[in-house]
Symmetry: C2
Subunit: 423 residues, 2 copies
Amino acid sequence: MSGPAQGMPHASSRSAVLDVIRAAGTISRTGLVRATGFTGATISTVVRRLIDDGLVLEIGRAESTGGKRRVLLQLNPASRYAVGVHLDYAGITYALVDLGGAVVAQMSRVGVGARAPQSVVERMTREVASLIEGAGVERDRVLGLGLVSPGPLTPNSGMRLTPPFMRHWEDFPLDQALAAATGLPVVLDNDATAAALGEHWSGGVPSTATFAALYMGTGIGTGLMVDGVSYRGSSGNAGELGHICLDIDGPECWCGARGCTEAMAGPAAVVAAARADQEVARAAGLTAEPRSVAADFAAVTRAARRGDTGALALLERSARCLAVAARTLANIMDLELLVLTGVSLAKAGPLYLPVVQEELDRAFFPRATHRVEVRLSESAATAPAVGAATLILRAELVPLRAGLRLPGDLAGSEPAPAGNPAP
Amino acid sequence: MSGPAQGMPHASSRSAVLDVIRAAGTISRTGLVRATGFTGATISTVVRRLIDDGLVLEIGRAESTGGKRRVLLQLNPASRYAVGVHLDYAGITYALVDLGGAVVAQMSRVGVGARAPQSVVERMTREVASLIEGAGVERDRVLGLGLVSPGPLTPNSGMRLTPPFMRHWEDFPLDQALAAATGLPVVLDNDATAAALGEHWSGGVPSTATFAALYMGTGIGTGLMVDGVSYRGSSGNAGELGHICLDIDGPECWCGARGCTEAMAGPAAVVAAARADQEVARAAGLTAEPRSVAADFAAVTRAARRGDTGALALLERSARCLAVAARTLANIMDLELLVLTGVSLAKAGPLYLPVVQEELDRAFFPRATHRVEVRLSESAATAPAVGAATLILRAELVPLRAGLRLPGDLAGSEPAPAGNPAP
């Protein structure tokens, strides 16, 4: 018989089952019926295919409370891999991640600077090949490549309305060029969204948290996750915290609006203010020729941490603005957790954290109901690349969406049934 | 055999199937297999129970492309009803809505004012009874009562951190008192969230839109919907647009923060500014004793629409602030649609709409990718009550969440299969 078999479960059932197995560590078929709400027959069919494809292993039997003992299932992490690439002005970071979410290799190289996109694609292709070979992973187990970078995205390819320092990437068909050069499927996304995914997979964020990764590298953005799923908005451009307005009549931003958080408090604004103040510029060792914004911002941060009061005042003003923007974000999304991440907050985070936490404790709108916890990322430098890889892996592992459940028993809902799967 | 039958589908399958039938109008069992991805066996079981419970009707047979003709299924809208109540300082609005989403009865009564909560509960109980009896609906077909009101909510009952004019409702166990008095299950929610649901069900908003209902009554809030599902945040308090900060050093807000949109541009701020200006106060006929904020705001709006330049200037300033807050909201959520609603925008909406649309066209961050359309609600006065009723109905009708789908065929996904359901 050709074509899909009769009664074959939908691809999303397969992904949901695989994700439940991953999250559980080990689980029986009966456990899968209980966790997913699928019938025993559906679970049997899906699991058989996952085992045939090598994605799931049977690993012996559990003690049962009666009757025959149940076979336990486990994800086979070495069955599939994905490459994540974080492309930024100041650096390119690579990660090779297995199906279980473990980082098996990573490396960092110089950034894109002012180089032509096509030459960067050629270099990335060589570096991806050496990443995979160096880890001893068979090429045909690599599902694809997730590529993340700053700036809003168009639906199918390319970066539009790019920040000023990456303007020459606008309209370059990045995903197509990289897919052609590497032979891998390529998915393009925003670096802040990927940072949130990376925190979720490898940063110890609870899987059901409504949380944001506040990402400050050269610019400012946020990646949003709700119940373990990225919130992307209608075009993949959600979470633009850098363009929250803090002052209707404030300074002009490169985006065309006034008083944006990035224009008032971002690394470039801090560096410009530091350069305008001779004492701070000297204390931070800012040279006449600008380096990258991130490098200059790091220099101002070092001066502040050495106790230079001028540098400290600039960062405190920036932190206060970022804290108010974070409160607006928290009030809109009703967040429970905010993770500070990105290369600039990896260094300045300890100065920003108490200011942001104090603002949320004092003025988060539903503070009578719950607190918003603020944390520093433990993997600020690599989270976007890890998240980029999980963009690919999540195509295999799509969590089951439970849908809206109201309190009480209005719908006449039954308890999740025990089914009758194959043992 | 007692207990759940072996292989009985999960309650969420039942709700998902019912929602697909509702959305489709009429559909066959084969169509349901295709639309849901469930197996034919699951669909057969679920549909049999829905017919037994009277929720779904078989309505004859469709022409088939070959083989036997298929029975078509249709929702039975008169099988279940829900009551929606919108409780506000200035008015209480009631709606009786059937399972198909049609409003079969509605009425408005005076608001809660300064009256004691328990006496308001007794009045509401009488008014709900007269709503149901007046429509000729059997009481045992009413699934429950959705009650919506302003302000942040605690998880199980009551309003906390209420706006100043409803402070005496704080800590009153509203849902429990109303459930005890009416004998109906009660679900409590935010009025802006309900307004978005009401727009979604009866306002012609596309079911997959990422949209916000910007609700301005006495205060300002937003209800958010993503792919047809309410976005509530971690504690049901998402969408607090009234407490977006527009000026770090701005006027104090009753919520404890500074420069909130509500404090700078809400109806109470507009009315206060109008009272402070003798010419505007006279033009608007504002009396020495204040009426409700909403009534005074409506008077200022009428003066502006009659051409009073002072009143017009106040509303234009308010509209400009609201437009910038709406842009911040749109930049965070990546909205594609914004509906202006609530009793104050029902009147002033035509003055606000062009200002908000212009701001989004000019400065929405990913504007190169797509536009945010701004619309006036066609049912601003009743949308929260209709939405409140759908809170109950949606416990029967939970949409199927398709989960994350990435571009391309990375997951080896199959096309949605044709199954083999009972004819």
